[in-house]
Symmetry: C2
Subunit: 119 residues, 2 copies
């Protein structure tokens, strides 16, 4: 059968699961918020093993949506390797991140303690 397809392009007003985590980690990591460091933090903080490709895919999406900005780090550090691409959260990113957490905390508050106790 046929379906009417009416696609109104607009940026979602909420974050994907990995998007939220990575956005949080970018805030946490500050000046050290770049691809590999984010990947490491995901492992340490969330026990998540994501590939570096997945991390970059996500930060690029976040940047496209205007939730983060990026700039290249200095090249004159005494080490080999390419320059880091440092990410920082934007005002819009902050708002969305705060809201995502608020919504969940609010629901948690409406759940009586016993509901989630281990039997």
């Amino acid at each position: 059968m046929l379906y009417k397809v009416e696609h109104i392009a607009m940026s979602k007003d909420y974050l994907g699961e990995l998007e939220e985590l990575i956005l949080l980690l970018i805030v946490m990591l500050k000046e050290e918020a770049y691809g590999l460091a984010i990947r490491k933090a995901l492992k340490e903080q969330a026990n998540r093993n994501v590939t570096i490709g997945a991390v970059h895919g996500t930060v690029n999406r976040l940047e496209k949506k205007g939730l983060v900005e990026s700039m290249l780090g200095g090249a004159t550090e005494e080490r080999g390797g390419r320059r880091k691409r440092i990410f920082t959260i934007t005002a819009m990113g902050k708002k969305l991140l705060q809201n995502s957490q608020d919504v969940k905390v609010n629901i948690w508050r409406q759940i009586p303690e016993l509901s989630l106790d281990k039997q």
Copy 2:
């Protein structure tokens, strides 16, 4: 070019964004956790307008993963309409839900208040 595709089927140990929200709402709604009520709660609690198809798609996925169970509600209530399919969270669901929130709360705790203040 060619890529080796080695698919090891295994259930992820974390929740998608909507999965987490709906799982939380199922706990909150208790005996009233069925499709339409979940949809309504998403609107009220998270300001999310998702279609009923999206809700059922998600709860079915959650059940397939063993994170919720469902059973049909009584039919003898004084109202028309089909019987409700009531969802309850499983022990595994609880564990995952608790962990998802713990991870995020932990990162939030490592972020100095000022990092997210409005300028």
